[in-house]
C-alpha cells in the first residue's frame, strides 16, 4: 500500500509535533471525505490501515469514525479484508474512551461482533474460523485475578453460551486440524475464565478436554495447557486423572526423545512443552481445596507415574551438567533444569537427589552469564525454602558453598546481589546463623543504598529468629544500629523504625536483658563500633547513629538506674552521654531525649545534672518545633510545680510488657516471604511475659479453630458444591453381581472394550486385578487411546474411612491389545453395603469418546476366610455362645430369600465355599424334604476379626425359598452379612 507507506514516511520526516499534528489532521479530513464516497475493498483497507496507524501513534481522541467501514471489511468474503476488519476492530473498539466497567465493555463488544463471530465460526473456510477464534482469544480475555464474571442471569449470557458451545466443539472435534484446535483451545480458555459456570454445570466436558494433553500434535499440547490448568483449578478432583497422562508425555519426550524434528529448538526437544508440563505439575502440587488440604500428594500417585516424574527430573538435571555450545542451547537446557529442580522438592526426592540438584546449581553460580547466576540463585532459594533441607549448609559443604554465596554479594549486577541476599536469608539455620549474620553485618557498609534497608530488616529478623543467647542478640542488634546509622539524601534512615522498636520491645519484655543492654548501650555511646573493624577499606562515613541514640534514650530512661551503681556506668555519666548527643540528632530523637531526661530527673532528683535539665527545658520551651516546645513546657511544669514530683512520678511509670506476637518486620522482607511461606519456625526469643499472659487466650482460640476444622471435615471435601451421585453406566450390574459371587470373571463388556477381573485376598488386604482388553481391535483394528482412570470414588466416609483404596498400577493410556490395572483395598472396619466404590473410566476409540462409570463390590464378606470347625456340635456351641454374648437382636439376623431357579444342597455348599465359608454340615441332595447347610468363617478387618456363622434352610419343598440365619461375634455385623448374602442369592439390589 503505497499511500500508507508515504503517510508513514511523511510522519517520520516531520520536524516537530506541530508538523506531525498538521499532517495527521490533513489525513483525517482526507479519510473522512473518502469514506463518504464509494470505495472498493482495497481503498477501504488502505484508509482503515491509516486510521489504525494514527490511533497507534496515540491520537486516540481524533478518531471517532470508521466503525462502519470496519464492519464492511469484516463482512467481506476476501480474506485480507476480513483480517484487517478484525485487527481494526480490536484496536479501535476499546475501553479507554467510554468509561465503562470491564464487564459492560465486554458485553457491548460482544453484541457488536457476535453475529460476525458466529458466522465466521460456522463458515467452512478454516481461515475464517481461525480469524474469529483469534479475535475471541485476544479480545475477550481478562486476567485470572479479575473478578469479572458472566452469570447465567445476565441478559447476554445466552450469546456467551452460544460462543462457548461452538468453540468447545472445535476443541473436541476429531476432524478439526491442529491449527484450529490450537486457537480454539486458547479461545475457550479465555471464554471459560469469563463464564466458569458453564464448565461447572457441564462436568462431562472435562474428561474430554483433559485428553487434549495426549494430542499427537505438539502444538495442540502446548496451547491446551493454560486451559487444563484452569480446569483443574476449578475442579481439583480431576487432578488425579490427568497426572498419569502428563507423566507419560514427559517421559516420552525427555527419556525416550520422541519428538518430531521441527519441534526441536536447537538441540532440545520441545522445551516449551516440557517446561510447561513441569510447571503444571508443580502448580498441581501447590493446589489446595476449599479446606486448605493439598489436592495432590505423592501418596496419591501410583508408583509408575511417580517413577516417570522422578526419572524425568533426574534426566533433566543430568542433561544440564553436560556443557553445550551456543546460547539458545544453554538457555533452553537451563530453563528445563530450573523447572525440574523446583519440581523435585515435591517428589519427595531422596537427600542424594536434592544434593545432586544443589551441586548442579552451585556449579552454575560460577557461570559467566549473569542470567545463569541470577536464576541459579533463584532456583536455590526455591529449593531450600520448600524442602526445608539444610543441604546447603550441612557441615561438609559449609566451607565450599557459603563463601561462594558471600562472594556473589559483591557481584557487579544488583539483581544478583539482591538475590544472593535473599538466598542467605533462606538458608540461614541454627548452625550457620552466626557466620551468616556476622558476614552480613560486615557487608552492610559496602552494600548499595537501595539494598541497605532490606539488608537491615533481614539481619534483624534472622537475629531474632535464631538467637539462643540474649547477649549475642542484643550485641548484634546494637551493632547493626550503630553501623547502619546513616541516612539517604531524603533523610530517611537506612534502618527502618521497626528495627529499633523491636529491640526495645524485647528488652522491655525480658527483665534479664535490661541491665546488660544498658551497659552495652553506654559502651557503644562511649566508643562506637563503626569503621574501626574495617580499617583496611574505609566505608562511607556514617554520622551519629540516630537509631542507637533512640534505643539509648529509651533503655537508659527506663532501666538506667539498674546499672547506676556499677563503676563506669553512673547515672550522671549516662546523662552526659545523652546530653552531648542531644544537639547532633534530629527533632524526633530530641523529643525522645527530653522524655528520658524527665525520667532521670524524677528518679534522681538530687544529682548535679538536675539544673542542666531544667535549663534545657527552659530553652527548648521556646523552640520553634511544636512537639519539642510542648514537651519542654509540660515537663518544666511537671518538675517545678510540686517538690515531691507526685504528678511527675505517675507520668513516668514503667512500661507494661508489649502484647505482640509476631514481629512487624516480617511484613517487610519482600519477595522471599511468598516462597518461604509461614511454616518457618517462629522466634526463639519469645516475648516472655507476653506469652504467659496470652497463652490462655491463644490456646482457646486454637481449640476453636480445631473445632472448626472438624466440622468442615464432615462436610464434602470439595466444598461448595454438593456432589451429585455419579450415574452408573448401563449393564454395570451383571459384572458387579459376578464379582460378588466369583473371584475371577468378566467385569464389563461392550463392542469396544472388555474388562476382566481377578480378586486376590489376603486377610484384610484385597487386590483387584483388572485386565482391559481392546474388543475393537478384532473388529475394526483400531487402538484404544487416552485410556484414563478419571476417578475412583469411594462412597465411604472421609473421616476414618471403613476401607482405603489405592491404585497400584495404572493401565497404559494406549491399548493395542490389552493392559492391566491393579487396585489395592485395605479393609479397616465394618463396611456397610452401600459403600462400594465407583470406578470412572474414559477412553477414545476411533474418534469417539466413551466414558464408563462402573461400581465394583467392596464388601465385608470379601474378606472372609474359612475356619475349620470339628463338627456340628462345635458349630452349635459357638452359635449358642454368640447368642449368649450379644443376644439375638445384636448378634443374629435372619432373612427370607426367594430364588428364580431351584437350588439343591450341593449348589448351596459350593456357593458358600466360593464365598469363603467352611461348610460344617450339609444335607445330602437326596433329601428332598429339607435342605440345610451350615457354614463358618472369619471376617478380617484391620481393626479386629469377627467369627461368622450361617445356616441356610429351605422353607418350601422345591428349593426356591430359603431362610438365611447369620450370627456374628461383632454387634450389628450379622445384618450386613445377611443382606449381602440375600443379594447374592437373589441377584437384585
Amino acid at each position: 500500500m503505497k499511500g500508507l507507506t508515504q503517510f508513514i514516511v511523511d510522519l517520520r520526516n516531520s520536524k516537530d509535533l506541530q508538523e506531525e499534528n498538521k499532517r495527521i489532521n490533513l489525513e483525517i479530513n482526507n479519510i473522512q471525505t473518502k469514506f463518504s464516497s464509494n470505495l472498493n475493498g482495497y481503498q477501504k483497507k488502505k484508509y482503515v490501515c491509516k486510521l489504525i496507524y494514527i490511533y497507534l501513534l496515540g491520537y486516540i481522541d481524533a478518531i471517532d469514525f470508521g466503525l462502519k467501514e470496519t464492519f464492511e471489511l469484516l463482512n467481506s468474503s476476501a480474506y485480507s479484508e476480513k483480517q484487517l476488519g478484525y485487527v481494526a476492530l480490536s484496536v479501535l473498539v476499546n475501553n479507554d474512551k467510554a468509561k465503562q466497567t470491564t464487564k459492560d465493555y465486554l458485553n457491548s463488544s460482544l453484541s457488536l461482533v457476535h453475529q460476525n463471530l458466529i458466522k465466521d465460526l460456522q463458515s467452512n473456510n478454516e481461515d475464517f474460523n481461525c480469524l474469529a477464534l483469534q479475535f475471541i482469544g485476544s479480545n475477550f480475555n481478562i486476567s485470572e485475578s479479575s473478578t469479572v464474571r458472566v452469570e447465567e442471569s445476565d441478559e447476554d449470557s445466552a450469546k456467551w453460551l452460544e460462543l462457548i458451545d461452538i468453540v468447545y466443539s472445535f476443541v473436541t472435534s476429531p476432524i478439526q486440524k491442529p491449527l484450529t484446535k490450537k486457537k480454539a483451545s486458547l479461545a475457550l480458555y479465555s471464554l471459560l475464565k469469563l463464564y466458569p459456570q458453564v464448565l461447572l454445570s457441564n462436568s462431562n466436558w472435562i474428561p474430554r478436554l483433559l485428553t487434549l494433553v495426549d494430542d499427537k500434535d505438539y502444538g495442540v499440547a502446548i496451547s491446551c495447557i493454560p486451559l487444563l490448568h484452569y480446569i483443574v483449578r476449578l475442579k481439583p478432583q480431576f487432578v488425579k486423572s490427568i497426572i498419569p497422562a502428563i507423566s507419560l508425555r514427559l517421559y516420552s519426550i525427555v527419556i525416550e526423545n520422541k519428538c518430531p524434528e521441527e519441534y526441536y529448538y536447537y538441540k532440545s526437544p520441545v522445551p516449551w512443552l516440557v517446561v510447561k508440563l513441569l510447571q503444571l505439575i508443580e502448580h498441581f502440587f501447590l493446589l489446595t481445596d476449599a479446606n486448605d488440604f493439598s489436592v495432590l500428594s505423592i501418596a496419591t500417585l501410583d508408583e509408575q507415574t511417580l517413577n516417570n516424574f522422578r526419572s524425568v527430573v533426574a534426566k533433566s538435571i543430568q542433561n544440564a551438567s553436560h556443557p553445550v555450545k551456543g546460547l539458545p542451547n544453554r538457555n533452553s537446557q537451563s530453563s528445563i533444569l530450573f523447572q525440574a529442580v523446583s519440581l523435585a522438592v515435591f517428589l519427595d526426592a531422596s537427600a542424594d537427589a536434592i544434593n545432586g540438584a544443589i551441586n548442579a546449581l552451585m556449579m552454575l553460580l560460577d557461570s559467566n552469564e549473569t542470567n545463569t547466576r541470577y536464576l541459579a540463585l533463584d532456583a536455590l532459594i526455591k529449593l531450600t525454602a520448600r524442602s526445608n533441607t539444610n543441604c546447603l549448609t550441612m557441615t561438609d559443604r559449609f566451607d565450599v558453598n557459603l563463601p561462594k554465596i558471600f562472594h556473589l554479594l559483591h557481584d557487579k549486577d544488583i539483581s544478583v546481589r539482591r538475590k544472593s541476599l535473599d538466598l542467605l536469608y533462606t538458608i540461614c539455620n541454627p548452625s550457620s546463623y552466626n557466620t551468616i549474620i556476622s558476614k552480613l553485618l560486615d557487608y552492610f557498609p559496602f552494600s548499595d543504598f537501595t539494598l541497605k534497608s532490606e539488608l537491615g530488616i533481614k539481619i534483624a529478623i534472622l537475629a531474632e529468629r535464631f538467637a539462643t543467647d540474649f547477649t549475642w542478640y542484643v550485641t548484634t542488634m546494637l551493632k547493626l544500629l550503630s553501623i547502619g546509622g546513616g541516612s539517604n539524601s531524603n533523610g530517611i534512615s537506612y534502618i527502618s523504625n521497626e528495627v529499633w522498636e523491636r529491640i526495645v520491645q524485647i528488652v522491655v519484655n525480658n527483665e534479664s536483658l535490661q541491665k546488660m543492654t544498658c551497659k552495652l548501650v553506654i559502651n557503644l555511646l562511649k566508643k562506637p563500633f563503626s569503621a574501626s573493624t574495617h580499617a583496611s577499606t574505609q566505608p562511607p562515613p556514617t554520622g551519629v547513629s540516630e537509631n542507637l541514640i533512640k534505643v539509648a534514650a529509651f533503655v537508659l530512661g527506663e532501666f538506667g538506674e539498674q546499672v547506676s551503681s556499677t563503676e563506669g556506668f553512673h547515672i550522671s555519666l549516662q546523662f552526659r552521654l545523652l546530653y552531648d548527643a542531644y544537639f547532633k540528632v534530629s527533632l524526633t530523637t530530641r523529643a525522645m531525649l527530653l522524655t528520658t531526661f524527665l525520667k532521670f530527673l524524677v528518679k534522681f532528683p538530687d544529682e548535679d545534672f538536675v539544673p542542666d535539665i531544667v535549663d534545657l527545658y527552659e530553652i527548648e520551651a521556646l523552640s520553634i518545633d511544636l512537639e519539642i516546645q510542648t514537651r519542654s513546657h509540660e515537663y518544666l511544669g511537671l518538675v517545678t510545680s510540686q517538690s515531691n514530683f507526685k504528678l511527675a512520678n505517675s507520668v513516668v511509670k514503667p512500661l507494661p510488657a508489649f502484647v505482640q506476637k509476631e514481629s512487624h518486620l516480617v511484613n517487610r522482607i519482600g519477595s522471599v516471604s511468598q516462597i518461604v511461606g509461614v511454616n518457618r519456625s517462629k522466634s526463639l526469643l519469645v516475648l516472655a511475659k507476653n506469652i504467659n499472659s496470652t497463652s490462655k487466650g491463644e490456646s482457646t482460640t486454637r481449640s476453636n479453630t480445631l473445632d472448626d476444622d472438624d466440622e468442615e471435615d464432615d462436610s464434602n471435601p470439595f466444598g461448595d458444591e454438593k456432589k451429585a451421585p455419579t450415574t452408573l453406566s448401563p449393564n454395570w450390574y451383571s459384572g458387579y453381581h459376578r464379582m460378588l459371587h466369583y473371584d475371577a470373571g468378566i467385569f464389563y463388556e461392550d463392542q469396544l472394550i472388555k474388562i476382566t477381573y481377578r480378586v486376590l485376598k489376603e486377610a484384610f488386604n484385597i487386590v483387584l486385578k483388572f485386565t482391559i482388553i481392546n474388543n475393537s481391535a478384532k473388529t475394526t483394528g483400531t487402538d484404544i487411546s487416552g485410556f484414563t482412570v478419571l476417578d475412583l470414588e469411594s462412597l465411604t466416609g472421609n473421616q476414618d474411612p471403613n476401607y482405603v483404596l489405592n491404585i497400584k498400577q495404572l493401565p497404559d493410556p494406549t491399548i493395542h491389545d490389552k493392559s492391566t490395572m491393579e487396585i489395592g483395598i485395605k479393609v479397616r472396619n465394618v463396611i456397610e453395603n452401600h459403600e462400594s466404590p465407583i470406578l470412572s473410566l474414559s477412553f477414545m476409540c476411533g474418534g469417539s469418546f466413551n466414558s464408563l462409570n462402573l461400581k465394583f463390590p467392596v464388601l465385608l464378606l470379601k474378606t472372609l476366610s474359612s475356619t475349620v470347625l470339628t463338627g456340628i456340635d462345635e458349630f452349635n456351641k459357638r452359635w449358642q455362645q454368640i447368642g449368649d454374648l450379644l443376644g439375638v437382636k445384636e448378634g443374629e439376623c435372619s432373612v427370607k430369600v426367594s430364588i428364580t431357579h431351584r437350588y439343591n444342597s450341593s449348589n448351596i455348599s459350593r456357593l458358600l465355599t466360593r464365598l469363603g465359608f467352611a461348610v460344617v454340615h450339609s444335607t445330602t441332595d437326596d433329601d428332598v424334604n429339607e435342605i440345610l447347610v451350615f457354614g463358618a468363617g472369619i471376617l478380617h478387618t484391620q481393626k479386629t476379626n469377627y467369627g461368622v456363622l450361617t445356616t441356610i434352610r429351605s422353607v418350601d419343598q422345591i428349593g426356591k425359598e430359603f431362610e438365611i440365619k447369620v450370627r456374628c461375634s461383632g454387634g450389628g455385623v450379622a445384618d450386613v452379612i445377611c443382606s449381602t448374602l440375600k443379594e447374592i442369592f437373589e441377584g437384585k439390589f
Binding site: 507507506t5 508513514i8 472498493n40 475493498g41 486516540i60 476476501a78 480474506y79 485480507s80 479484508e81 483480517q83 485487527v87 475501553n95 479507554d96 470491564t102 481461515d127 483469534q134 482469544g137 485476544s138 480475555n141 481478562i142 486476567s143 491449527l179 490450537k182 486457537k183 486458547l186 479461545a187 479465555s190 502444538g219 502446548i222 496451547s223 493454560p226 521441527e262 519441534y263 529448538y265 520441545v270 522445551p271 516449551w272 512443552l273 517446561v275 510447561k276 510447571q279 502448580h283 539458545p328 538457555n331 533452553s332 537451563s334 530453563s335 530450573f338 523447572q339 549473569t370 542470567n371 547466576r373 541470577y374 536464576l375 557487579k412 549486577d413 539483581s415 544478583v416 519477595s671 511468598q674
Partner: protein, 153 residues
C-alpha cells in the same frame, strides 16, 4: 503462567511494536512503558536480562538497536521467555531476510502477524519455526490472491 505484554524499544526510547495481553488502561500502559524504558535503557550490556518490576518479572534482550521486552508473571520461567524473544527474532529474520529496525517500522503488519501465530493471549501456541512461517506465508498468499482478484475485477 502467561506473558503480560511485549514491546520493542529503540535505543532512543521509541516504542516500535507493542502487544498487551492484559486489559489495562492506556494510561497504565504508558506508565509501564515509560518506567521500563528508563530502567532498561540505563542498564549496562553485561547485566542480567531479568528484572523484578512490581509483582512481575521483566525479561529483555537487545538485538542491534532494538530492545525486546517481555513482562511475565513472577513464577514463570525466565530463560524460556528469553528464548521466546529469540524465536520471534529468528522468525522475523527469516521472513524479512536479515531483519532491521526499519523493516519493523514499515512492515509492522508482518511482525504482528508472526507474533499472533506465535502467541495467543500471552500463551505460546506454536513453538515450531516452520509451522509459524508456513502460516504467515500462507496468509500472505491469500492476501495476494485477493489483490489479484481485485485487479482482474
Amino acid at each position: 503462567m502467561s506473558i503480560q505484554f511485549l514491546f520493542l524499544l529503540s535505543r532512543q526510547g521509541k516504542v516500535r511494536l507493542s502487544k498487551w495481553y492484559e486489559t489495562i488502561s492506556q494510561k497504565e500502559k504508558g506508565k509501564i512503558t515509560r518506567e521500563l524504558s528508563t530502567l532498561i535503557l540505563s542498564r549496562r550490556a553485561k547485566m542480567c536480562n531479568v528484572l523484578e518490576y512490581k509483582d512481575m518479572k521483566i525479561v529483555y534482550r537487545r538485538y542491534a538497536s532494538l530492545f525486546f521486552i517481555i513482562g511475565i508473571e513472577s513464577g514463570d520461567n525466565e530463560l524460556l521467555a528469553l528464548e521466546i524473544i529469540h524465536r520471534f527474532v529468528e522468525q522475523m529474520d527469516k521472513l524479512y531476510g536479515n531483519v532491521c529496525e526499519l523493516d519493523i517500522i514499515f512492515g509492522f503488519d508482518k511482525a504482528y502477524h508472526i507474533l499472533d501465530e506465535l502467541l495467543i493471549d500471552g500463551f505460546v501456541q506454536e513453538s515450531s519455526k516452520k509451522e509459524v512461517l508456513r502460516r504467515v506465508a500462507q496468509q500472505d498468499e491469500l492476501e495476494n490472491m485477493d489483490e489479484f482478484d481485485h485487479i482482474l475485477a
